[in-house]
Amino acid sequence: MSALARREFLKAGGAVVIGFALHDVLDAQTRGTVAGPPDARQIDTWLAIHADNTATVYVGFAELGQGASTALLQIAADELDLDMSQIKSVRLDTNVTPNQGGTYSSASIARGGPQVRTAAAEARLALLGMAAKQLGVPVENLSVAKGVVSAGTRRVTYGELIGDRRFELAFTGSAPIKKPSEYKVVGERVARKDLADKVKGTHAYMQHVRVDGMLHGRVVRPRGQRAYGVGARVTTVDETSIRDIPGARVIRRGDFLGVVAQNEWDAVRAARQLKAAWEPTSALPGSEKLYERMRSAKSGDEIVLERGNVSTALPLAAHLVSFHGRAPYQAHAPFGPNCAVADVKRDSALVMCSTQDVYATRRTLAALLKLQEKDVRVQYYEGSGTYGHSCYDDVAQAAAFMSQDVGRPVRVQFMRWDEHGWDNFGPAHVGEVRAAADASGKIVAYEYHGWQHGWSGTEASAQLTGASVSEFINAPAMGVQGVNRLTCGGQYAIANLKLVNHKLPVTEYLKAGWLRSPLDLSFAFVSEQAIDQLAFLLKIDPYEFRRRNIADDRWLGVLDAAAKAAKWTPKIASGKRDGKIVSGRGIGLGTHLQSWGGAVADVEVNVETGQVAIKRLYGALDAGLVVNPAIVESQIRGQLVQTASRLLHEEVTFDTAGVTSVDWRTYPILRFEECPEVTPIVVQQINERSLGAGEEVMAAAAAAIANAFFDATGARMEEFPFTRPRVLAALKR
């Protein structure tokens, strides 16, 4: 970026850096001049100590509204012997922050924590070396508190030792780190750093960013996406239809259609008013025939995991359960639609957006804008909770295309129907499971078949400009686009087990992406009902049945914790429906890619109307060492409420042309009046590695809700959400 562009950027960004001291601005200025990622093997990349004895930690993870940025600072503060008031982080920026990979798979603490901790330890060791020299005493005679290094009565601060100068030190990872028994800040219920500004109304979300000379843009698309492989072919655009709106103009690149205007409301009006038509299509099966098509389609089959011999063990077992289940597409539906501001110049670009991965977004944008990666700068601004791959990249590309075409900065915010209608949905799922137990109550065989498609790799904006559609390829180790070996039977010690993935082509369905705890709610909904049904057949209490078959101590820990919190009393589902309202209690286990989740649910079912009320949810999570139990409790509460919403209400609907659920009326979510009481339980493991905590109790909660429904009614729900017609149909079966 040229000096002029940088000055412009600083000026433009002025409104959003209020509250940062001067040295930070200068520091950011020097740090921001070169395209990143900065060298991860240098300590200076990870942190800086300022003259006022405070520290900045450069963290490569986005604050997604879950509090992870505070927890990462706790780790750094602990290792540096600083107080939480002495430490802060900066926004993600491809010119400033290291590349720690994307903020997904609950990675912030699990993957980011050890990096931050070892970097801080190495910096502390260097600071102690400097202090020893300055004070003329050996390192082992020094003690540190709040960034003040002492030897008896003599002292020197970190700020005095290195204030705002570079360490110029290689990050070797060799400095000893503190033992859990030495933690002072980690494990504490520290208040989140971002919440004071959020309640005051001074926090700058992405949606608040404004820059000088900026135009407002909106995309113009059919309300509701069509089949991914089909796109939306524009047949006619009548540019004269927005002639009466001052300064409004149409932006078109192939089938990518948008409008820009000086005033935001004029852009909104122009997008609404522009007369455009698209080629008709009927490539989708429609919501009603979705599962039929998925189940009968030719799929790419692969065995995810196999041990023992399921086909011989299943028929020999004393008790066999076969269960089929279906789960819909669900939307991220962030509360505030995604927004981005792009300033694309002839040979450079600055794009501000809410991406979960600034470096991945930079790479794609550079290719689309035909710029070099080093000339594109991407900055992260928090939007509303995204819970996965919502439209943040799509809107960033839209803003970038429009800015490149008009030669001015452009701010694009999606309208509600754009976000709901063009999301990368959590994919639909069809699951079939067979599970068998011997007469003593031991699960001896288990087989799971899952039908679903993977994630789409091309954003709608890029696709509409002519980019070819692709599948999203992720590292095989992630394994989150298919049957999950932890949630599908992994909770139990089963000698004969087989998991099979039946992969469908995403191009024939809806665009898809990772939605919080991808597919796990669906897997647990199917799998854990089969396990529960086995317990029922054997007339064993479902909690006791799970205990007998549990895979390991960590699973047992969350199972016991959830049962204890709920004051579980042994029972066998009666299935008797006495009266109009029947109540039941269920239990379940599940997780995402790591950690362990257990849950208990209490539900009430009105057998006349089919209305289901989730009264109470208990969620126990073992995520190893929990850095901030208060934050994780809050995350568990959110997961439980969101799971209730997804089980009771959430379903993307579509006809053969396209998506029809495009707002909160057509895609309802849980509201205050139906909100269950929720009890979070953190199973703290002070000596274990920290693992993900942002999504790992949802599968268990989904299972517990489904099993509670059975306990209440004696009927199994084979599909969610639990709409009244579906409930009434299940009760009649």
Partner: protein, 168 residues
């Protein structure tokens, strides 16, 4: 056109049919009211108009000229005026309680949550659980923090009932 927002008078130039939200966000550069749906379905854009919660995304700016508009930023001064306090607190008790409870996750919906809760407590100082749920039912939270919001509203109710000095 003149608008009274947070006890100050502003002259604005937007067309009269412009929804109030766009005037507050772009001309007054306020961060409280924010776009959520543009359909009055979610409560993201809520403001108080003469003490009554309104969805600014569907309220034409001309319809509120001459009325007293309060945004999230103005809740403390609105509280001071309506309660005849000698000093404007730094936070409205609802804001303080949300912070004390560490209620928000992403916090985007909290503009509407706090505006609506402030309206509720001004009319019903000691709401029971059902009253809270009913009043708040038109406000959505995607992060699922409803239980924390309800706890915070009960706490705010207690803060408001406490002697004035204790609040400062």
């Amino acid at each position: 056109m003149q608008l009274k927002v947070n006890e100050k008078t502003w002259t604005v130039s937007s067309a009269p049919d412009t929804p109030l939200l766009y005037v507050l966000a772009n001309e007054l550069e306020l961060h409280g009211p924010r776009f959520g749906c543009g359909l009055a379905q979610c409560g993201s854009c809520s403001v108080l108009v003469d003490g009554v919660e309104k969805r600014s995304c569907v309220t034409a700016v001309s319809a509120v000229a001459g009325k007293s508009i309060t945004t999230l930023e103005g809740l403390p001064v609105w509280y001071a005026v309506t309660r005849r306090l000698s000093m404007v607190p730094s936070l409205h008790p609802v804001q303080q309680a949300m912070l004390d409870e560490q209620a928000p996750q992403c916090g985007y919906c909290y503009n509407g949550m706090m505006v609506k809760a402030a309206e509720l407590l001004s009319k019903t100082p000691r709401p029971d659980d059902t009253q809270i749920r009913t009043a708040m039912n038109g406000h959505l939270c995607r992060c699922g923090t409803y239980p924390s919001i309800m706890r915070a509203i009960r706490r705010a109710s207690e803060l408001m009932a406490a002697p004035t000095e204790a609040r400062r």
